[in-house]
Symmetry: C2
Subunit: 302 residues, 2 copies
């Protein structure tokens, strides 16, 4: 009963007001898988180059993430991204994007992955997301992420893709763009007619809103005393969300499960920001996660 | 057992994407008083000119707001402000500010006000706020609002003033400016050493955070399907917050009371945005307030 995670595995160069790292493990699938691995077995589908370091393989393996679907291209380099954050870390500027082997990514699921019940499709070309879904059998929960580029320039293909999804996780500006509706509540109502029955709109430091049927649930962002590096926080949110649901191993999730999944998403996103890159996941324990979950209860209940 | 509210009563010209009103009742003390009046008796301290309309007096009186402290200047005009909101209503541009009689506002409390136990000092010159506090006897809860102008240009006087306050309500950029600390959690910790034991940081559509001792509570903003006019929403939040606490009539408020007060603040702020200016308060009932309070419980509990 594993969760399949498809997306980018990369090296990142990141500069924030708290420091600078020239090259470290990154990529959406990396963050999603690491965060989800605290709740459920995970199997990754991604591509890397000949420069992908053994220590990074070891980190993923230490979290029991299945790597059979991690394709290695012998004559290529791993996707590289570099960016710098603004003083308040709410904006970032991309300095470099070398797609490298990711440009030719054509995800092929190992046979052992195809009967798994949970699928998270990270932010890649919508046609590829659909292809992956097609390689799977019956799936209990399928969903994923997308971005402004696919919404604007691959709209028809994206709509065709998310039609098959149970859930969609996007940020507020993407929700406005996808729906053509500036009001978030009405944007959500429109998106819920496009296929996904579960919509999570991420609002960065302000948390997230879950929409399901005609109900919604609002989770705040955790108030960190120090944000070291927000890179990957949204992906860790996604990993906590789907990881928790997959870990429940139930046939049908209800609104109470979904609420808790959103809180676990916020918890995992908050831990991500406490260190550079994936560093927090080298030491994070499930017990720390539960402590923070209870902190969320304490600071939202009335 | 009344709440004294000190601040501006004004006429506003407002343009939002949903319409334009050239002149309507406004002002911080107006919004605070109207919102608070659903929970507790209110007495206002403000100044208006000879143009202040009987229908506006009647509206305040219909909410049982005491008007003995509403000074009328026979040869002056009421404070007038006009502004236009951006398409997403998160920014506004001031088109006109005629202080008129408000420029000479020197609040004098009627004798009948001086023994009341609750005092809310709206955003006026900090020296005037302190003068009002000095005119009162023993007060159970004193606090109020301020703004960037006083924080920057009247810092010493403001610090002297809030030293005497039990609570302070400001927005996030004001909290950063007052504390000199960009991180909100650390900004709050620093402000709690300046006098107020209770701090509420308002975050507009993203809700508010309450800080008290080493605990905090986060309330989301209500998800409106249509925001007609956000003018006065922050003041209505303040009115709901202090109005609820005053209405409790208890000697010492605890953290549970404060959490509920923040939710009532969010409730009142949300109603304010549903119509232009103060219009929503012409029909709003306490029952509608309770329904929305329960909606907050439903969309935040997990």
């Amino acid at each position: 009963m594993s969760l399949i995670v498809v997306g980018s595995v990369a090296y990142d160069g990141v500069e924030t007001p708290h420091g600078k790292v020239d090259r470290m493990l990154g990529g959406a699938a990396t963050y999603i898988s690491l965060a989800a691995s605290y709740f459920t077995p995970v199997k990754i589908v991604a591509v890397v180059g000949n420069d992908f370091a053994q220590e990074d393989v070891d980190l993923l393996a230490s979290r029991h993430i299945g790597l059979e679907g991690l394709e290695r291209v012998a004559d290529g380099k791993t996707f590289f991204w570099a960016g710098v954050y603004s003083a308040d870390m709410n904006d970032r500027t991309t300095l470099r994007t070398d797609l490298n082997v990711f440009a030719g990514f054509d995800p092929k699921l190992p046979a052992s992955y195809r009967a798994e019940p949970y699928l998270f499709l990270g932010n890649i070309q919508p046609g590829l997301q659909r292809s992956v879904r097609g390689q799977m059998g019956q799936v209990r929960l399928t969903g994923g992420d997308t971005m402004n580029y696919w919404i604007n320039d691959f709209r028809a293909e994206l709509l065709e893709t998310i039609k098959q999804w149970d859930f969609l996780l996007i940020n507020d500006s993407e929700a406005r763009m996808l729906s053509g509706e500036p009001n978030i509540r009405r944007a959500a109502a429109r998106i819920l007619t496009m296929g996904p029955k579960i919509l999570v709109i991420k609002r960065g430091e302000f948390g997230a809103i879950l929409f399901h049927g005609d109900r919604h649930f609002m989770a705040p962002g955790y108030l960190l005393e120090k944000v070291f590096d927000p890179t990957g926080a949204g992906d860790c949110f996604a990993g906590g969300f789907i990881g928790y649901l997959a870990g429940r191993k139930i046939a049908e999730v209800d609104f109470a499960d979904l609420r808790r999944a959103v809180i676990y998403g916020s918890v995992m996103g908050s831990f991500c920001c406490e260190r550079f890159g994936v560093d927090r996941f080298r030491t994070l324990t499930r017990e720390e996660i539960e402590v923070r979950y209870r902190e969320f209860q304490d600071c939202t209940g009335f």
